[in-house]
């Protein structure tokens, strides 16, 4: 089974440090999404890309977060500087474009990076 791979699985860091999370989408998928999950807010969309181009990052705090796709096999989410309120699980998901006909590919999620900022 093809999988979305995220690294690291866990990250503990101190406030003010830079954090980089990585994602390898499923080969052939041309959309990549970054979500953040907390108990209070559930899953929130931070940013997404199609064909490596950023389409929407309105859910992301722009002053400290950045998302990129250096190539089709790698997506990154960076936080600099990190703050305790950034503690959450960050998920990457990939898929083919949704809503474009029956049988379109649903989003496939990785197992997330659990970030703790102290």
């Amino acid at each position: 089974d093809a999988r979305v791979t995220q690294t690291p699985r866990h990250k503990v860091t101190e406030m003010g440090q830079e954090v980089t999370m990585r994602c390898q989408p499923i080969l052939g998928h041309n959309t990549v999404f970054w979500y953040r999950q907390t108990m209070m807010q559930g899953l929130e969309l931070l940013a997404y890309f199609r064909n490596r181009a950023p389409l929407d990052d309105s859910g992301m705090p722009k002053d400290r977060f950045s998302a990129e796709m250096p190539d089709a096999t790698l997506a990154t989410l960076k936080i600099q500087p990190s703050e305790p309120r950034d503690s959450a699980v960050y998920f990457c998901a990939s898929g083919s474009p949704l809503g474009q006909g029956a049988g379109n590919s649903p989003l496939h999620f990785g197992n997330g990076t659990r970030l703790t900022v102290t």
Binding site: L45, L107, F109
Partner: protein, 114 residues
């Protein structure tokens, strides 16, 4: 603004005790409603997509239905391995090119007691 509300927040059932989970939504048009299952420490796993009112999908002990305002996930004779958090998400119909932003509910945490 698109909204998805799931109820109940948590549900405990005895093994074999059937029940339903609810997903109510308000959205500008609906291109699709999605159900996912999430196990602790894992990412959401896709279950179903529903596109129009009246549609139903089944998979083992699960059946998803859709009306114009809500979706139900019916669980028949559940087993302990069905314990998980079930998430609902909607994809709005009114969109600019490339709008594929799913809005998720906060989920129902289902526990099946042996």
């Amino acid at each position: 603004e698109d909204q998805v509300t799931q109820s109940p927040e948590a549900l405990r059932l005895q093994e074999g005790e059937s029940s339903s989970l609810n997903c109510s939504y308000t959205v500008s048009g609906l291109r699709g409603l999605f159900w996912y299952r999430q196990d602790p420490g894992k990412g959401p796993e896709f279950l179903f997509t529903l596109y129009s009112a009246g549609e139903e999908k089944e998979k083992e002990r699960l059946k998803a239905t859709l009306t114009k305002k809500e979706s139900f996930l019916h669980i028949t004779a559940p087993k302990p391995e069905d314990s998980a958090t079930y998430l609902c998400a909607v994809l709005p119909g009114i969109s600019n090119f490339g709008n594929e932003k799913l809005t998720f509910g906060t989920g129902t945490r289902l526990t099946i007691i042996p």
